[in-house]
């Protein structure tokens, strides 16, 4: 089974997976390794990292020195295909004209989705994160505990490969022995920040990222991941052998042709294809889930983007993993008889409680980092260190004025210059030009730091999406309309970030690069901007207040499952991708179990 076309799909599959990113890739991997015949629908084109990744192309080889443009928001070499804040022909709308009340929806249209350009920050939620309402009365508890999910975090980490360290820190779980790969040596600026942050009490420790700092141990991991499944183990042994370790060059956002980091297209899809159980249909824009007369899901209607034709594919089980908001959109656009509010929405909760991550940051210039000798600091193509949230006791004592935490991402910039130039150096040097500008560039290059907070948002009533009553996309599919509002919780948290980062810059002997204002309101990122959107079809224990049970099975349609971030009940300050994969694996395991019991 291979890539298929609308004319070569089979009449009936065991399962249809809508989406091919972290959730869809993981669900398809788990199902096909267990012998389930899967059709994967992807709205974008086929994408092959082995032949399409610009590994060593320099900014000078790209138009405009590689900078971001409306066509390629994150730079020319970002791996994203046909995506960004706007997707041609596929609009979304906002109910408010006020930018503070708007949500920005970043979407890719490619096999593997946003995992291709993902920063590879692979953090586990901690025990508090699944039950925070029970601790502080805000938001919602999950219907699962950390202990329920931990075995799946273990399996995901073993499969994708994550570097990091076990630190025994509060609400920042360790991994079992033999799972984490060694963390890379910190860079000069990272070491300096770590050293100076100590007197502020900010714990800067190895980050966790899905990058192979050494080859995966194919002699032990496959048996731990797939106990009792000899065929899956064999396939995974071969696949792990084919993944190379990091070569310490090129940013991970370009993707990785040697498969040294995780992308769905390098880790999930190749072994799933090797099982012979996976068909992939690219350029298929899912529109709605259809029902049989008995109220179970029959299949998915999609638009063949090549021809605009509407097609139906059928399966015993349908799994939506299109990305939280796109999954919500499919549910709300599925209106078979008896479901005027959309599918799996008898609770009315579908579309509610969309969450993003609180983001705010500052830059600084550090004289100690000036004029360092040239040294290669490419490293693992992303951050080596970070600071997990550390003020649990102060927060519990009511000293902070906001709930929930944030972690700190930071770095000193010794990346290759890009086409937007060295304006900050010229500004620092008082407008120099000529021979002095060249000397200033040598002196100041590498002396700039950035600090960014990534904090937890509490779900609120004013942040949600619904179907726009009039706007349709180029395929005639009604689009999403967003409503957004940060609450004072998030604004105060952003304010705290700025003051912490300013202290860090000063502790490093540096100067904060001036900004006009430091209020949380002015500095907080726009909703959606951190691209951590989750929620919209929360899981729960009560069918009247949730869309799915604790396995992602919708209450209303027993063979319809949600496997992506849509089911999240909270959005911890840990980046959501690892949790999306762990929960998708758990959902897929449940489906396999039900299929074996003939219950699905």
């Amino acid at each position: 089974m291979p890539f298929v076309t609308p004319d070569t799909t089979q009449d009936q599959y065991d399962a249809i997976v809508v989406g091919s990113g972290a959730a869809g890739g993981q669900a398809a991997y788990t199902l096909t390794m267990e012998g389930v015949k899967v059709l994967m629908l992807e709205a974008g084109r086929r994408y092959d990292p082995a032949t399409e990744t610009p590994m060593f192309q320099t900014n000078g080889m790209a138009p405009l020195g590689g900078i971001g443009t409306p066509d390629k928001s994150f730079g020319f070499y970002d791996s994203t295909v046909d995506g960004g804040w706007e997707v041609p022909g596929e609009p979304y709308t906002n109910a408010s004209a006020d930018p503070e009340r708007q949500f920005r929806w970043w979407r890719p249209r490619m096999l593997g989705g946003r995992t291709n350009h993902w920063a590879r920050h692979a953090l586990r939620n901690g025990p508090y994160d699944f039950k925070y309402r029970s601790r502080d009365g805000l938001g919602f508890d999950w219907p699962v505990t950390y202990d329920d999910v931990a075995p799946y975090y273990d399996k995901v980490e073993m499969l994708i490969g994550v570097y990091g360290a076990n630190l025994g820190m509060e609400n920042t779980p360790d991994s079992p022995e033999g799972i984490l790969l060694p963390p890379p040596a910190p860079r000069a600026g990272e070491r300096l920040a770590q050293h100076r942050a100590r007197k502020l009490g900010v714990p800067i420790v190895p980050f966790r990222r899905a990058v192979l700092t050494q080859p995966l141990d194919f002699t032990t991991l496959p048996a731990r991941i797939h106990p009792g499944n000899a065929r899956a183990q064999r396939i995974l042994v071969d696949d792990m052998k084919a993944r190379a370790a990091c070569l310490w060059a090129t940013p991970c956002g370009r993707g990785c042709s040697i498969r040294a980091n995780y992308q769905s297209t390098t880790v999930h899809i190749p072994p799933a294809m090797a099982t012979g159980n996976l068909d992939i249909l690219p350029n298929a824009m899912a529109r709605e889930v259809t029902l049989r007369p008995d109220g179970t899901a029959d299949g998915v209607i999609y638009i063949d983007k090549r021809t605009g034709a509407e097609r139906l594919v059928r399966a015993r089980v349908v799994i939506l993993a299109a990305g939280a908001c796109e999954t919500v959109r499919i549910l709300l656009n599925s209106k078979p008889q008896g479901f005027p509010r959309g599918l799996a929405n008898s609770s009315g909760i579908v579309g509610r409680y969309i969450m993003d991550t609180v983001g705010a940051g500052i830059g600084g210039q550090i004289p100690l980092l000036e004029g360092l000798p040239p040294m290669n600091e490419d490293g693992a193509g992303g951050s080596h260190l970070y600071a997990p949230w550390w003020l649990y006791k102060e927060q519990a004592a009511g000293k902070l004025g906001f709930p929930r935490g944030y972690h700190i991402e930071f770095g000193a910039d010794r990346s290759p210059p890009a086409g937007n130039g060295i304006g900050e150096i010229a500004a620092l040097a008082g407008g120099s030009y000529g021979r002095k500008l060249k000397a200033d560039a040598r002196r100041y290059y590498g002396s700039f730091m950035f600090f960014s907070g990534r904090g937890e948002m509490i779900p609120n009533e004013k942040s949600f999406c619904e179907i726009d009553p009039s706007v349709k996309d180029r395929w005639g599919i009604p689009v999403l309309r967003f409503h957004w509002q940060w609450s004072d919780h998030e604004l105060r948290q952003a304010q705290h970030m700025l003051s912490t980062f300013s202290d860090l810059v000063v502790a490093m002997g540096g100067k904060v690069i001036p900004r006009p204002e430091y209020s949380g309101r002015q500095s907080i990122s726009q909703g959606g901007f951190i691209i951590h959107e989750v929620g919209g079809a929360m899981m729960g224990s009560d069918p009247s207040t949730s869309a799915t049970d604790r396995w992602g099975q919708t209450w209303d349609v027993k063979n319809l499952f949600l496997a992506d971030g849509a089911t999240f009940c909270s959005n911890a300050d840990k980046n959501p991708t690892l949790t999306i994969m762990a929960m998708a694996w758990r959902t897929a395991d449940r489906i396999v179990e039900k299929m074996r019991r003939k219950d699905a």
Binding site: N59, P63, D82, T250, G419, G423, R435
Partner: protein
């Protein structure tokens, strides 16, 4: 490439001419605009949302370059005032930066369209100012004369009020020039970037760097 992804408004010739006629341009600017290199927004298309990432691009490969010969002469001289040759690395013009500037101001994207107006108006101002002070255009001036003008406009923070607009131009021009320069192999080497090579291990900074940073543990 996809037509719908092109963010810049498509401006037809008639609209462009109307825009030029109503623009608050001096007679001097007007002459120049007639012969090409107008600051009307580019009507070209961008590289789209799915460009070939594997090939190497040169200025002019994706959208046409638009500087007139006269503008290019001024750009070349000003680039080299900003980044001249020294004992470490060649001048900006020796590594093709004028082409990069042309690619930048000719690009069909909003940020670059804003720079196009600032830079083309600034180039015209530069020639007018140098004609006013010295009797010939900027490219024909000697180094001391060019320096006299650049010193007046090189810093937005300290420029006298009558030069504030010119200082804004100089700042943007310097940013684009440095963007073009430091993305060339010569510029990248000069600034001290030594990565983008495959390594078998990554050990972090050498001991002497850590010592300089006061990190002894």
């Amino acid at each position: 490439m996809n037509l719908e992804s092109t963010p810049s408004p498509r401006v037809d010739r008639r609209t462009a001419i109307k825009w030029m006629l109503t623009a608050s341009a001096s007679a001097l600017l007007w002459d120049q605009r007639l012969v090409g290199g107008t600051s009307a927004p580019s009507a070209a298309r961008g590289y789209g949302t799915d460009p070939d990432l594997m090939r190497a691009y040169k200025p002019g490969d994706v959208w046409p370059l638009t500087l007139s010969d006269a503008q290019r002469r001024t750009v070349t001289v000003l680039c080299d005032m900003i980044l001249p040759a020294d004992e470490v690395s060649p001048s900006a013009s020796a590594v093709g930066v004028p082409d990069f500037v042309d690619e930048w101001i000719s690009a069909p994207y909003p940020d670059q369209a804003r720079d196009r107006t600032v830079i083309l108006d600034g180039l015209a101002w530069l020639d007018a100012e140098s004609a006013r002070r010295f009797g010939y255009d900027f490219a024909a001036c000697g180094h001391m004369q060019r320096t006299a003008i650049c010193d007046d406009i090189c810093s937005e923070a300290t420029a006298r009020p009558e030069f504030s607009k010119a200082a804004r131009f100089f700042d943007r021009f310097r940013a684009v020039t440095s963007g073009g320069y430091y993305t060339t192999p010569e510029g990248t080497n000069d600034i001290g970037y030594v990565g983008n090579v495959a390594l078998t291990r990554f050990d972090g900074p050498p001991p002497e760097v850590l010592q300089r940073l006061g990190i002894t543990d």
